[in-house]
Symmetry: C2
Subunit: 278 residues, 2 copies
Amino acid sequence: MATDTSSFTGGSLLLAWQLKGKRVLIVGGGDVASGRIESVLVADALVTLIAPRDGLHPLTKRFIESSDRITYHDRTFAGPEDLVDVDMVLTAIDDVETSRTICAMARALKVPINVADIPPSCDFYFGSQIRSGPLQIMISTNGQSPKLANIIRRRIENSLPEHAGEAIEKVGQLRNKLRERAPGVGGELGKRRMRWMVDVCTAWEMEDLAALDGEMMAKLLDDGWEYNRVPKVQEVGGRPRQSTKTALQKISGLLLSSAAGVIVGAACTALVFLKRRA
Amino acid sequence: MATDTSSFTGGSLLLAWQLKGKRVLIVGGGDVASGRIESVLVADALVTLIAPRDGLHPLTKRFIESSDRITYHDRTFAGPEDLVDVDMVLTAIDDVETSRTICAMARALKVPINVADIPPSCDFYFGSQIRSGPLQIMISTNGQSPKLANIIRRRIENSLPEHAGEAIEKVGQLRNKLRERAPGVGGELGKRRMRWMVDVCTAWEMEDLAALDGEMMAKLLDDGWEYNRVPKVQEVGGRPRQSTKTALQKISGLLLSSAAGVIVGAACTALVFLKRRA
């Protein structure tokens, strides 16, 4: 973890919670609830949604109609029986009393809970998030400034390498193909596999990784992995691309433009003088 | 949440877990464990650390010596009695069998657990993280490519506005002062408070927010909040600052350097000719 040296406390433990096949109970169907539904569906959860139909947000409706992983109940929260076999509870309703009751029940059962807008009833918070395929980024200011969290999120979004999500997806596929070709867990082979993957990710630009297709991956493994080297993009059939300028290149650009100026200036003045002489 | 339109699954639910006053059991004291200790101390947890002294990482030793929130036991994991009243378990030991046993015990007690290097024994993963004061950022590639996660983390670190962490800290302090001055929960006043804070964060640069001190905050509230406006940095005693260069300014810089080059070149050549004449 990259940290500064300050001894800051008051932070959170940022986690990537695993929900594959887990049951998440969502109470409420409005705007906030629709965002929660999206977040947990992305994590492969099985959702039970309890909310009267007349208060459903259009997005919530669309999720109910389109996902086979949502069990929908057109009613309000009924009691402890709604918490049986539930692995996580998210409530997003306006009724503070009911929210607190659900929180107490969940905590008695040791089921993690988030109650929208009531921090003391939350075992965890949601942050400002970016998602692009398998890439997920969360920005948290630990409740100090949601606005600055948003400003920082936008800046990060704008500065993210283009196709970062696709690059990660392709690298994941390449790693799976490599594991098929050179199977086995741990040991020297495992280390060589990891090193080669790191070398590929370091040598290739994000955009080139994103452009990998099945044929190129096969060639990369044939001409690269088998000879323990990292071929250039063109060698495996990738399109050569103008490389991104480094800081050094920008400075040389600046110096070159100054130097060009000196030459142009000198030439013009020389011309003037020579013309005068003539 | 900002998302692309793809229907990606296989993701995680990114969370900011709250550990203030919670008991975290860490089994193991090596390199990985020392990182875990740091992460949970930042989140104000109470740590119980179980690990034989002879295997402690220097950083782990330093944490044990310097933090009064760590209860240290110089021994190996003893059994279920070690899990009594524990809110979270993190293990980072080489003994796969013991790790799996601890995992089974924790799950029976419904205590969230992370077992380093054994994904199926993890209720949650840790991602690549950035921390700067109250600002915390996590980058997860959902296990597809830890190397790309690191590359992206470094790029984000380099592109983060300088002093972002300090800015967030100061904005948090300003908000607290505003709440003292105009107290009350929710309602019209709450909305006005929130709007004014958003306006300040939008109008001021990150560096100016970071430079706020007590006196400036008081003036910002006196001259700003009371009149429902956002004063300029200089009005509250802040130093005027050269604004960050825009792309246009960079181009003008380039043109100016070329122009300077032309003049220098012309002058030198003129000197040469004039000297010859003399």
